[in-house]
Symmetry: C2
Subunit: 277 residues, 2 copies
C-alpha cells in the first residue's frame, strides 16, 4: 500500500503558483463572502485566507450576520463582479436556510467563480468544455495523475452526489474514460457496489462508511471525508483496515484536504488569466 | 414481458399538446437549421416539421449548403434569438467537420434551446435546476414513469455518453435516486457491468450490442438505437432474445423514437412559455 500524500503534492503546486505570481508580478485577489457564525465555516475561511497570502494572492473576507438578506448578498456579488481588482469570488457554504443558495451562487460571474459551482461551469464540465472545475474534484484528479493511477477503462465508484464533489468528480473520471458508478444515500447494498471497483471515491461525510470487506485487493481509495469523532478527524474510510487491501489510499488528514486548498489557489489564478483575455 | 409502447404514449402527449395549443390560441414556431445534404438529417428534419404541424406548431427550416461558414450559421442564430416570432431553435446535427458544433449550439439562447444542448441547460440538469432537457432522455423518463417503473434505489446502467442522450439520461436517473453506472466504448466487460442491473439503457448505435446473456431476469430495457441492417431498422438490443428475460422493453421502431419527437414538441411549448415570463 502506498499513501497518496496530498500534503506533499499540494506543497509542490503551491510552490509553482507562488513562483508564477512573483515572476509575472501579478497580484490576484479573492473575495470571500461569509454569512453567519458557523464555527467550521470560520475555520475554513481563515485557512483559505492564509493559503492565499502564502502564494501572494490577496484575500478579503466580507463577514455578514445572520440577518442579512439574500438581496444584500447578491448586491455585494454584483459589485464584486464589476470590480476589476477582484479576480475570484467565493461564497462560503452552507448559507443560512432562508437563502436560495443556487440564486446566490449563480449571481457570481462564471469567470470569477473559483468554486466552479455556477450552472455554466458545471455545464462546461459535463460538456467537456474548458471551465473552472471545483477544487476538491480537481485536487483528486491531480493526485491520481501524480501517482500515475490509470483511469482509462477502469471501474470507478463515486459515493456521494454533491455539486461540489461527487458529481464533478464523476464527470472528470468519465472524461478520463473510466466507467463510473454514482452511488448515494438511496443506493442499495453499497458493499456489493464497491466490491469489484478499481477506484473508490467516498465523498459522504460518514465516519468509517467504507470498510475493508467492501474493497477489492489492490483498489485505489480516495477519501474526501472530514469527520470529527472523539475530537479526532477521521475520513469516510476505515483507514487502517482498508489500507491493508488498497494499492493506494489517501490519508485523513493530509490527503484530499490540502489538495482542495491548492486547487482553489490554482482556480484563482485561472480566473485571473481568463479575465485578462 | 411487457412492451413499453412509445408510439401509444407519444400520441397521448401529442394530443394534449395539440389541445393546449388550440385552447390557448397560441402559435409557437420552431426554426430548424440544416447544414449540408446528409440524407438521414433531411429525413429527421422532415419528420420534425410534420410532427410540429400536426400539433399546431409552425416549423421553418433554413437549409444551408456545405460551403456555409460557421459565422453565417451563428449570424442566423443571433437573428433568430432576437426574433420574437421564433420560440425554438434547433441546429440539426451532425454539422460539417470544419465547424465547431459547440460554438454553434452555444450561440442559441438557452430559452430557445429546444434540444437542451447548450452548456447552460446541461448545467441546469446536473445542478437539478429547471431547464430544457434533451428530448430523448426526457422521453425515456416519461416512458418509465408512464409504465410505473420504480427508479428510486434501483441499479441502472447507461451505455453511451453523448451530450444528447447518455449523459442527460444518467443525470435524470440520478435525480430520481437511481444508482447510475455510465459505460461507454472504453468500458471493459460490458456483460459483467450489465448483468445485475435493474435498468439498462443502451444509447450507442451498435446493432444487437445487448444480448440476452447480459440481461438479468426481470430487468427493464430501453433501446435508443436506430441501426439499419439489411434494410431493416433494428435497435442496440437483440430484441427477441432479450424480451424473453426483460420485464419491460422498448421496441425499435415504436419505442424511444416517437417519444423523442413528442418531447421535442413539449420542449418547444416549454420554451414558448419561458419566453412569456
Amino acid at each position: 500500500m502506498y499513501i497518496m500524500d496530498g500534503k506533499e503534492v499540494s506543497l509542490k503546486i503551491r510552490k509553482i503558483l507562488k513562483e508564477e505570481v512573483i515572476s509575472r508580478g501579478i497580484s490576484p485577489k479573492l473575495l470571500v463572502i461569509l454569512v453567519g457564525d458557523d464555527m467550521a465555516s470560520q475555520i475554513y475561511v481563515k485557512s483559505k485566507e492564509r493559503a492565499c497570502k502564502k502564494v501572494g494572492i490577496e484575500a478579503e473576507t466580507i463577514v455578514l450576520d445572520n440577518n442579512t438578506s439574500q438581496k444584500e448578498v447578491i448586491d455585494i456579488i454584483n459589485k464584486a463582479n464589476k470590480d476589476k481588482s477582484v479576480n475570484g469570488i467565493l461564497v462560503q457554504l452552507p448559507l443560512p436556510d432562508y437563502m436560495d443558495a443556487s440564486a446566490i451562487v449563480n449571481a457570481i460571474d462564471p469567470l470569477k467563480d473559483v468554486d466552479g459551482l455556477t450552472v455554466i461551469n458545471q455545464g462546461k464540465l459535463v460538456s467537456k468544455e474548458y471551465g473552472i472545475v471545483p477544487a476538491t474534484p480537481k485536487g483528486i484528479l491531480a493526485l491520481l495523475k501524480y501517482y500515475n493511477v490509470k483511469l482509462d477503462g477502469k471501474d470507478a465508484i463515486v459515493i456521494g452526489r454533491s455539486q461540489l464533489v461527487g458529481k464533478p468528480v464523476a464527470a472528470l473520471l468519465l472524461n478520463e474514460n473510466a466507467t463510473v458508478t454514482m452511488a448515494h444515500s438511496h443506493s442499495n447494498d453499497l458493499q456489493n457496489l464497491c466490491k469489484n471497483k478499481d477506484i473508490i471515491i467516498c465523498a459522504v461525510g460518514h465516519a468509517k462508511l467504507i470498510t475493508a470487506d467492501m474493497v477489492k485487493e489492490g483498489a485505489v481509495v480516495i477519501d474526501t471525508g472530514i469527520n470529527r469523532v472523539h475530537n479526532t478527524l477521521v475520513g469516510d474510510v476505515d483507514y487502517l483496515a482498508v489500507a491493508n487491501k488498497a494499492s493506494r489510499i489517501t490519508p485523513v488528514p493530509g490527503g484530499v484536504g490540502p489538495m482542495t486548498v491548492a486547487c482553489l489557489l490554482q482556480n484563482i489564478i485561472e480566473c485571473y488569466n481568463l479575465q485578462q483575455k
